[in-house]
Assembly symmetry: C2
Homo-oligomer: 318 residues x 2
DNA sequence: TCATATTATAGAAACGTTTCAATAGAATAA
DNA sequence: TTATTCTATTGAAACGTTTCTATAATATGA
């Protein structure tokens, strides 16, 4: 591997002069700087990231912890984050599962984005001290270097539920995702708030886990139920789609017999029939905002932490 | 930040003893090793990745360059790669676009996976010398540290086309993706091979770019065509779905008036009506195999480079 | 002209590890 | 007993940069 030393030798200059020249420091004369740059290029020299990171104490890298690569939501989010980081010469590291802990501890990044409910609050608080800043997307958590960048689930779900109630539905049930997760809790909260505002009781609650498979199971429960709800408010799209699929297989008409709504507005939702009414969260844009916020913080600017809004997309599922 | 020096001081031992102890070197007595480990834990010490990388000349990191995060294909692939890497204590860096070049040059990883047609062959060959190994998924390329890990497009497409021909279709057209891309070229090659084997001429060729939007455009061409093909063999699913959507909007019946096939078998394909006949590539598994191959190479083992097979999934689109 | 300020360059320390080579002390062998 | 091997530990060099400080050469001002 060609190092700065090799370049220095070939150029007939000291290591420090080469370093300054390549970093465009004004103290080096234009003439020598150009000569050095040319030689460096010719030798195919590139500074070692490791050595640079060690000295500079910064990695120009942002770490993202997600719970899995599978879901449709993360793609857009990652895309958005990456888009903004790349523009600013930052690299993105992505990880899931156990390796996440290790990466966080090793501080291989200048900041971290957490969207993985498998990482405990306790762990985050524990490492946050003296750590590079941590941005959590999937929980509300106070701490020294911890920043909350979440979606405004509550208000979006309130709006959706209000719309449903105004349509005249009476036996309205809620389909939970992972029960203690921030997203589920705040969405349920918004739902409850609207129900209370209209003096309605929650007709029933189902327990899922945000996956399509858990939707299938819930559909089974509903099929066997003699007193079915007339409306299912789901904590996310994937469960809603699973439920629709299974109910239709059992000849239950949607929305005629049961209405249904989702949350997230994933791409598939547009292609189902009936098309799913949902809350659209522009994850790409949200990702960009997250990245921008982080970069601002790293630049020492003041940052504004405000919740990302969701918008109601009305279709034909209720 | 707490360094090894701090731990050494607190433990009353030298830096080297601490280092050996934490790396489980047998030369340190069990007693001191345990004492040191305890103190390190207590102090919340974790070795600096940068310093370690610099000294060890290895990063335990694999870099993946993809052309975008959007597509449904990459998720599974990334998931598979990551799955295997994490099991072996490796980290995955993902990037797209221009930042990719920089990362490759800086050698921040022990190996690279390339699946981004925007990176030129020339560039790869240029950097490959003296570089960590490069695994290309999206092209056939010879070079010093370059390994080809591709999908067996040719045989899969041959099988698909054969099936189509045997169904009795005569006016068979091919819908190209990005024309010079490895995937498109080899898929077209398999298609041609089957057509030739049955003495059929290619009825028509359309030029797309692997996206759904390019499918819309092609559908327009077909709609305005007086002598339409009776079968469209598409170079991937996304274009096929775009074409179906637009043709149906114009009341052209599929498969009654025109049959259509895809390649990749993305999740959406199952939910369209008619459901799309396609070639299923198990990208998760492929990703795992790629990662395994890389890890074996890094361990100094001999590696076997064999193509990933696709399987025909017959549904109702022709 | 000489003293001083400016400019361009070089030397050397530092970043936090790993690891080679050296050493002191204990255990073993003669 | 003394020489030898073995064990546990340490000191110091090295990895490839950046950056502080020193210095030589040149330009500026009186």
């Amino acid at each position: 591997m060609v190092t700065i030393k090799d370049v220095a030798k070939k150029a007939g200059h000291s290591i420090s002069t080469v370093s300054y020249a390549l970093n465009n420091d004004s103290r080096i004369s234009e003439k020598t700087a150009n000569k050095i740059k040319e030689i460096a290029k010719e030798m195919n020299y590139f500074p070692s990231a490791a050595a640079r990171n060690l000295k500079r104490k910064t990695t120009k890298t942002i770490f993202v912890a997600i719970s899995d690569f599978g879901g449709p939501v993360y793609n857009e989010l990652l895309d958005g984050i990456h888009h903004e980081l790349a523009k600013n010469d930052y690299t993105m590291i992505v990880s899931t599962g156990v390796s996440t802990d290790k990466i966080l501890k090793q501080r291989g990044s200048d900041a971290s984005i957490i969207s993985d409910i498998n990482i405990t609050d306790k762990f985050l608080v524990q490492i946050s001290n003296g750590h590079s800043p941590i941005f959590v997307l999937d929980r509300s958590l106070k701490g020294n270097n911890i920043y909350n960048l979440t979606i405004d689930n509550l208000n979006a779900m309130f709006e959706l539920t209000e719309d449903i109630i105004k349509k005249g539905y009476k036996r309205i049930a809620f389909v939970h995702g992972v029960i203690d997760s921030y997203d589920n809790k705040t969405r349920f909260e918004g739902f409850l708030k609207a129900m209370n505002a209209f003096n309605l009781n929650v007709y029933k609650e189902y327990k899922g886990s945000f996956t399509k498979e858990s939707g299938y199971k819930i559909a089974d429960e509903i099929i066997n139920d003699k007193q079915r709800p007339d409306m299912l408010v789901c904590s996310n799209d994937e469960m809603a789609l699973g439920i629709i699929e299974k109910l239709q297989l059992n000849n239950i008409l949607i929305p005629e017999e049961i209405g249904i709504s989702g949350f997230d507005d994933i791409e598939l939702s547009k292609y189902f029939s009936p098309r799913l009414t949902s809350i659209k969260v522009d994850h790409f844009n949200w990702g960009r905002r997250i990245a921008k916020t982080i970069l601002n913080l790293l630049k020492g600017k003041d940052i504004v932490v405000k919740k990302e809004k969701g918008t109601l997309v009305k279709r034909e599922s209720y």
